[in-house]
Amino acid sequence: MTQAQLAQGTAPLLAVRDVSVVFGGIVALNGVSFDMQKGQILGLIGPNGAGKTTLFNCLSRLYQPSSGDILMEGVSILTRPPHRIAEIGIGRTFQNVALFPNLSVMDNVRVGTHARTSSDIISDSLRLAWIRRSETDVNKKVHDILAYLDLEDVAQTVVSGLPFGTQKRVELARALAADPKILLLDEPAGGLNHEEVYVLGDLIRKIRDERHMTVLLVEHHMGLVMSIADHVVALNFGKKLAEGTPAQVQADPDVIKAYLGSKDQ
């Protein structure tokens, strides 16, 4: 990938290059490669233990790959500590929601802006003029996002008391508050009912279209992935099994075998 490609916009936004992860003697990921183009919704599928979450955690720098590289806009992210991933435009949600349970919805989303703002404890304690201005901007942005995701009514509510589906929306709002270029969604449909899954699918598409985002969707729910993804990567036992359009992947004999061949699905 050259600078020229980048300039033309043909280079991938995110490139996973031959990534392997080994835990002790267990190979969780084995030479996985794929590209994400700007504006794409990429579905990452695979049975339990296929390595989806491992890959996800490599992208958010919670795991260090044993070999291979991950490039964001052509630059490796592997030298960055986890807290410096948000600032280059990678935002995420968690599999079983990881909100700040004792904070209000509004404060949860405010924390989402952390990577896009700056302050120091002295200026914060004195509430200097530039801090007040920055807080005003943050509040405006947070209110916009809450309105966008229909969370205004619960803005002042502590998140731990909210229904699971609402908590998932709060997590999405928190991720959006960091203005990510790529949104990593770890099983967003988990725990939602049939109807909620469809609403979620529409929402993800809407976010991609209106907020010009690229989405990596790790999901068990085949219906959701196949209906909204532009591109699908299937993993099994840490290896890439198939890649292509949803229809191509669905028709792939290896994928069918992986899903139907094992009884624990």
């Binding site: 500590p81 948000a86 935002g91 904070l103 404890i121 807080e135 502590v158 699971f164």
Partner: protein, 339 residues
């Protein structure tokens, strides 16, 4: 049924949402408390004024612990060490360098910030009960460190140092005790306001995010290590200021005034006041100052046991401390208004 589905089912049952709890008092209540703090000393004896001064000082120390534990979620049984460093910094500067007492306070805050920040670095690797143990070790070591021979010239060794009580400035017609009370009140108010600002700011939200979920905080760009050590630094700095004021009020510093007992008292004060609720710090401070005296007046021989029973009652009746009482009071007032 997966775990997630169970959560959904529970979520549907939870109809009543939990409203956000305030971290501070309302404006009206704050003004009443402030007025009382300003006016009461004009009508009471010097001894009561002294006790009110100590209430503010311990309140500051509990507030400092509240920022650390209630704010960033880190435990500390070592606050007595920071208090001691603050007290000795002021005492040594006043008695050996003839520095004005008021000037020693910011110096003490800076010294303790550095000390707390440096202590917070290795403590980063510890959490929960292990962190409590490490800070416990710090509290146990401090009195011994202060007795070290080569420091004796400065610290006075086991004997400690006598601190001169300052007179009221500008020829104000008030006793030393009264002046010191108002001086302490000014410092306390300033620190209280700064602390409220801090906890409501971006940094404060980073503290609380870390307390609630470190991995999620880190994913949002919060530098967990930095903010954890900063919380230690801020907490130590405020505790140090309390130590300085305490040294000036008591007019004496000695190693055995700053043992683990002090640290445990402060911890107790935080729990009784309500973890994470700043005004509760002062209620907690009142508890650790006055309740032992009450216990002694009930039974001299068994004061410890009586104190234990009183403490047990408080924890049993109001597990969330003064904060819970405040919330109940607010609800009661709300009902009265409706009727």
């Amino acid at each position: 049924m997966s775990a997630a589905e169970e959560v959904v089912a529970e979520g549907h049952q939870a109809v009543e949402a939990v409203p956000k709890r305030a971290m501070t008092l309302g404006t009206g209540t704050s003004l009443v408390v402030l007025a009382a703090l300003l006016v009461v000393p004009m009508f009471v004896k010097n001894f009561i004024i002294f006790q009110m001064t100590m209430l503010l000082i311990y309140g500051l120390a509990v507030l400092a612990l509240n920022i650390l534990t209630g704010g960033s979620g880190q435990f500390s049984l070592g606050q007595s060490a920071f208090y001691a460093v603050g007290a000795y910094t002021s005492a040594v500067l006043m008695e050996h360098a003839n520095l004005n007492y008021a000037l020693t306070i910011p110096i003490s805050a800076a010294v303790c910030f550095g000390f707390g920040y440096l202590f917070g670095k290795p403590a980063l690797r510890l959490s929960g009960v292990y962190l409590a143990l490490a800070t416990f070790a710090l509290a146990t070591a401090m009195p011994q460190l202060l007795k070290l021979n080569f420091l004796e010239h400065w610290t006075g060794g086991v004997q400690g140092l006598v601190v001169t009580k300052p007179d009221a400035p500008f020829g104000l017609p008030m006793s030393q005790d009264t002046w010191l009370y108002y001086f302490t009140l000014i410092v306390t108010l300033a620190i209280y306001l700064l602390s409220v600002n801090l906890l409501r700011s971006r940094s404060g939200r980073a503290f609380m995010a870390i307390r609630d979920n470190e991995i999620a905080a880190s994913s949002m760009g919060v530098n967990v290590a930095l903010y954890k050590t900063l919380a230690f630094g801020v907490s130590a700095a405020i505790t140090g200021v309390a130590g300085s004021l305490g040294a000036i009020a008591v007019q004496f510093v000695a190693p055995d005034s700053y043992t683990i007992t002090l640290a445990i008292s402060l911890f107790l004060g935080m729990v009784v006041g309500g973890v994470g609720w700043l005004p509760g710090s002062f209620v907690g401070a009142a508890f650790i100052i006055f309740v032992p005296n009450m216990a002694e007046s009930i039974s001299k021989g068994l004061s410890g046991a009586v104190f234990g029973v009183l403490l047990f009652l408080v924890i049993y009746l109001v597990p969330h401390g003064a904060r819970q009482i405040a919330i109940l009071g607010q609800q009661f007032a709300g009902k009265l208004k409706k009727n």
